[in-house]
Amino acid sequence: MAELEFRDAICEALDEELARDDTVVFFGEDVAKPGGVFAVTGGLQEKHGPERVFDTPISELAIAGAAFGSAVGGLRPVIEIMFADFLPLVMDSLVNQSAKYWYLSNEQKSIPLVVRTAAGAGGRFGAVHSQMPVSWFQGVPGIKIVCPSTPGDAKALLKAAIRDDNPVLFVEHKRLYSIKGEANGDVATIGEAKVVREGGDVTIATAMRGVHEALAAAEELSAQGVEAEVIDLRTLRPVDTATVLKSVEKTNRLVVVEEGPRTGGWAAEVLAQVLEDGLGDIDDAWRLTTPDHPIPYSPPLEDDFIPGAKAIAASILGR
């Protein structure tokens, strides 16, 4: 199996699903002819034609509304919202239209819709081009949130998201676009976490870029005699707490590492579920997140802001 970049894994998933299913369409700002600002989707328009892959006006609400309506009409739209920071502009359509349709229609029709978006800090893009959108949507029933950390998962989960009959927010961490890994033609199962490193002393549950930081931290910790189990949650809504609970049964210690503000994020949801269902297994549980303020631009500030490998290791050793 060949190694490929995360961005190309995304592109392959789109390409294969566009080829497989004529109802799949893909649109967004500067995604077709220019191939996207992160050079992810180049070539898809040439291959699948301008009726199925096209550039839109800078009209996020129209993009999301059009995606919703076209899904009611039988298409399986994939849209790109260039930066996750722009998702508030489409939130009405996602929350009040797409997420509710299946229920309100009494299951007449579900909305197979994928929103691809580039998220996350570390690229010096500043406070309004670096946010994680998960907390805005984690309390929205009817939406799935998928957050891959590797090219292989990105491809397999995007294929799964496109085939899923429900609205899926597919979050692509900007700092992962250039990482390389293997990817095949598999279709993953949404909602399953994965233990990516075994260890008996402490559980680190995280996602996206955090997985790479956690794995690096685990190496540091191992050198000091602490064996961390690292869980890549992969889907954040619904989140696979069963896998976390199983790990915590063994380690009794849990840190949830979230790239996102401390208050009100998905790490809180993981901790809450663990408290509700695994209280007896816990000796210690806490979160490591970004602080509660906007994302700074200046490199030393931004670096300090994001919980990286060192901070994770230190946090664990400091308990």
Binding site: G73, N106, P141
Partner: protein, 328 residues
């Protein structure tokens, strides 16, 4: 579920007469349906809030009369008229408003969010502007099948972001969608001129969208305008816009004393009640007698009484597990 052919022409005078008699019947059904809803609301049997279509019937009935099987409609919280015009079952709609298990959405949606895909109603959208986004997207799908999407919405909606974004979007991709702006002079309690710069009609026009303002209380005008618009949209000429001037005879929603209305305005509009206009037109144009129309009115009363009776006797849904997602 009766569906008209999408043609605007008629094979014979008799057919035309019969068609408009049918449309009259639907308008009458809507009016009396809304009257019933009002009563049931006051009796505490319809809950929350309701937005009635009384006075605007010619709009939905005229527009929907030209739609074919492949076409789809997005309506608003003021959507009973569009629903009934599309052939949504009277009883099922009433049962929905009464919150019953036999409602078209099994009591889940209520008055403001009715969906009935079998009857081409992609939904009633209770976010102002939502119907515009929905129909624009539907048009993207229908482009493949020759269908046309219709969005209903009001004058006040012309100031909401969905409107300009989606009109432009539809224009850029020349989507088969007909935007029907039902200008009833008010958004809730606020006169539209007070919050709207310029004329609504100019907004689609300058985008290159064919647009016209019509008498929305004359079902002949509405039907003919809609037929031409749908035909153009279907022929690939891109989005179409109709500003349909009308007036609602009742409050915006539940408790609305209507203090904002200009003095005498309601009375003036009542003279142009679409039911009165249609009755007169049926007599003048086709010699349909008042007695024949009274019979229709009577049959509407019976249909409605039966629907209300059946819906009122239907069971409430049982709370129980809900599938958050399709497929698990």
């Amino acid at each position: 579920m009766a569906r008209e052919t999408p043609a605007a022409g008629f094979t014979s005078p008799g057919a035309e007469s019969q068609l408009f008699v049918d449309l009259y019947r639907r308008m009458r059904l809507i009016r009396r349906f809304e009257d019933s809803v009002q009563t049931l609301f006051q009796q505490g049997l319809v809950h929350g809030t309701t937005h009635l279509y009384s006075g605007q019937e010619a709009g939905a009935v005229g527009v929907c009369s030209v739609l074919g099987d492949d076409d789809r409609v997005a309506a608003t919280y003021r959507g009973h008229g569009a629903a009934l015009a599309l052939g949504v079952e009277t009883e099922g709609l009433m049962a929905e408003l009464l919150g019953r298990a036999t409602g078209v959405c099994k009591g889940r949606s209520g008055s403001m969010n009715v969906i009935d895909l079998d009857h081409r109603l992609m939904g009633c959208f209770s976010i102002v502007g939502g119907s515009i986004g929905a129909a624009t997207g539907m048009a993207l799908a229908l482009k493949r099948t020759g269908g046309v999407a219709v969005a209903f919405f009001g004058d006040g909606t012309a100031n909401q972001g969905y409107f300009p974004e989606c009109l432009n979007f539809a224009r850029v991709f020349d989507l088969p969608v007909v935007f029907v702006c039902e200008n009833n002079r008010y958004g809730e309690f606020t006169p539209f001129e007070q919050v709207t710069g310029g004329a609504i009609l100019d907004r689609p026009r300058i985008l290159g969208i064919h647009a016209e303002t019509i008498d929305g209380n004359d079902v002949w005008t509405v039907r003919h305008t809609a037929a031409a618009a749908v035909e153009r949209a279907r022929a690939g000429e891109g989005p179409q816009f109709i500003e349909s001037l009308t007036y609602r005879f009742v409050g915006h929603s539940r408790s609305d004393p209507g203090a904002y209305r200009a003095p005498g305005e309601l009375d003036e509009w009542r003279k142009r009640d679409p039911l009165t206009v249609t009755r007169a037109g049926l007599g003048d144009r086709y010699g349909v007698s008042a007695e024949a129309l009274d019979e229709i009115d009577e049959s509407v009363e019976q249909e409605l009484a039966a629907a209300v009776e059946a819906a009122s006797n239907a069971p409430f849904p049982e709370p129980g597990p809900v599938r958050e997602f399709k497929g698990g």
